[in-house]
């Protein structure tokens, strides 16, 4: 997924859409908005980022899972099988992005890129709801996918690459 930080206005629609679509329990969220302000007046810059699980290529949360509940599904989406999860918390400790949380029902939960929608050929809920169209989803290996086209002529960066997880959220700058 690519997030256009030049277009994001921080309205939090994606957060609410996710909570509704995925029945996220009250007080929890699978995605969130970070507001970054830097500089000194009058030279001040502000950046909004819609963040969620990075669906890392080298996912430590999958590596450290003792039961295999955390796994990478075909296509690269990182998922948790609820009834294999024992709720030990190892994956929560292992995520440099703090993208996971213990669901009140016991298992560990996180962004699924709305795999139930993706399987039907739809976009994740957050992508479709974004009023500024700043979220781009798709297959990075397909040069004509929405995400590849969005990244084509833009500079981008990933968060905390030094953590070594090969994150798959690309922030367009």
């Amino acid at each position: 997924m690519a997030i256009d930080t030049k277009k994001c206005v921080g309205c939090s629609d994606c957060v609410v859409a996710c909570q509704t679509e995925n029945n996220v329990p009250h007080g929890y969220c699978r995605d969130w908005i970070v507001e970054n302000v830097s500089g000194t007046y009058p030279v001040v810059e502000m950046e909004f980022r819609s963040e969620r699980c990075n669906h890392c290529d080298n996912a430590p949360c999958v590596r450290c899972c003792p039961t295999g509940a955390s796994h990478i599904a075909e296509g690269g989406i990182v998922l948790v099988t609820h009834d294999e999860c024992i709720g030990c918390g190892a994956c929560i400790e292992s995520c440099p992005y703090d993208a996971r949380y213990p669901h009140p029902d016991g298992y560990v939960d996180k962004c699924t890129f709305c795999i139930h929608r993706v399987e039907k050929g739809q976009n994740p809920a957050c992508v479709d709801v974004c009023p500024t169209h700043c979220l781009h989803f798709g297959d990075l290996e397909d040069p004509n996918s929405d995400v590849s086209l969005a990244m084509k002529d833009r500079k981008w960066r990933v968060l905390a690459p030094e953590a070594g997880t090969k994150p798959q959220l690309y922030f367009l700058m």
Binding site: R63, C85, C88, G106
Partner: protein
């Protein structure tokens, strides 16, 4: 100015503002695991060495603590699981990339072994002990006959267990304080030393106490060396490592760590042990108590502080 905030708000229980998904049960378990590893290792070691007779507390009495510690540790671990009913999923697979997985299997092997070990000394410890069942008597005879191989297996497993208590934490690169390869050896050494402290507390035999004290002194020195090494690594490391070290060098864990773990838990008891070896009279319970307490605090500090260290926000 540089400021980063959650504009959409984020107050997820146990995650924000600081991760605290692992609490006292994990710290307690790491302590008890290390303690049991220490006790069992030396019990095995002195049997292999053929010094069973000279070291009664090490070989027979102290190991009684091990199965108790392991069971309490396992209960603590179980208590900390959020999805308890599915815990059996741990034992449907073994995943080598996950310390939690092979650690769980190690526990599954060493816990029964520790019971068997203690059981095989029951008759020696409590004359008149009767197993009541023929088959148990035969099993006991078989264990006693094969004590040396048992001791070897126990030594290997206890080393794995001791190292595992450290690797469980060091495998997480997301938590810079934990993510250092010295943590495995450090936790192992500390576990062995707490095991020796427990033996020292129990032992009444002069010769045995001296032997154990000597080994413990060496281990404490090694542990202190590892701690210095740990901080050297952090200070020479990346920004997140520097921040991890800062928690202990002026930050919120400074007093707890240096006073309770290093001074009261290592340096002071080591001095007392050294004095005792030189013939000074030292209350026998004091050094072991300090070492055990220091070891416990050490695990609590590491578990808590590690979860504060992070890459982002």
């Amino acid at each position: 100015m540089k400021e980063e905030i959650f504009a959409s708000g984020r107050h997820i229980p146990h995650i924000d503002p600081y991760l605290n998904i692992w609490h006292w049960p994990i710290a307690l378990y790491l302590f008890l695991g290390g303690l049991a590893a220490g006790i069992l290792f030396f019990a095995g070691y002195f049997v292999v060495k053929g010094k069973e007779k000279e070291m009664p507390a090490t070989v027979k009495w102290a190991p009684i603590i091990a199965p108790i510690a392991l069971v309490i540790g396992l209960l603590a671990l179980f208590y900390d699981l959020h999805h308890k009913l599915y815990f059996w999923q741990l034992y449907t697979t073994i995943r080598f990339t996950s310390p939690m997985s092979w650690g769980a299997w190690t526990l599954m092997a060493i816990t029964p072994l520790s019971f068997v070990w203690v059981a095989s000394y029951m008759k020696e410890m409590f004359p008149g002990w009767d197993w009541k069942l023929k088959i148990l008597d035969r099993f006991e005879a078989w264990v006693i006959e094969n004590r040396v191989p048992f001791a070897w297996i126990m030594m290997v497993l206890s080393i794995i267990l001791g190292v595992y208590t450290g690797i469980l934490l060091s495998a997480f690169n997301a938590r810079p304080l934990w993510n250092t390869s010295i943590l495995g050896p450090l936790f192992l050494t500390s576990g062995l030393s707490t095991g020796l402290a427990a033996i020292l507390w129990i032992s009444k035999n002069e010769h045995e106490r001296k032997t154990i004290s000597r080994i413990d002194l060496v281990l404490i020195l090694v542990e202190l060396f590892f701690i210095v090494h740990l901080f050297m690594g952090f200070l020479a490391g990346t920004a997140v490592k520097n921040e991890a070290a800062a928690l202990f060098l002026g930050g919120e864990f400074t007093v707890t760590f240096w006073v309770f773990v290093v001074i009261l838990g290592l340096v002071f008891p080591a001095t007392l042990e050294a004095m005792e070896l030189r013939g000074f009279h030292v209350p026998a319970w004091l050094p072991p108590l300090l070492i055990l307490f220091g070891g416990l605090v050490f695990r609590f500090v590491m578990v808590d502080a590690g979860q504060i260290t992070r890459f982002l926000y």
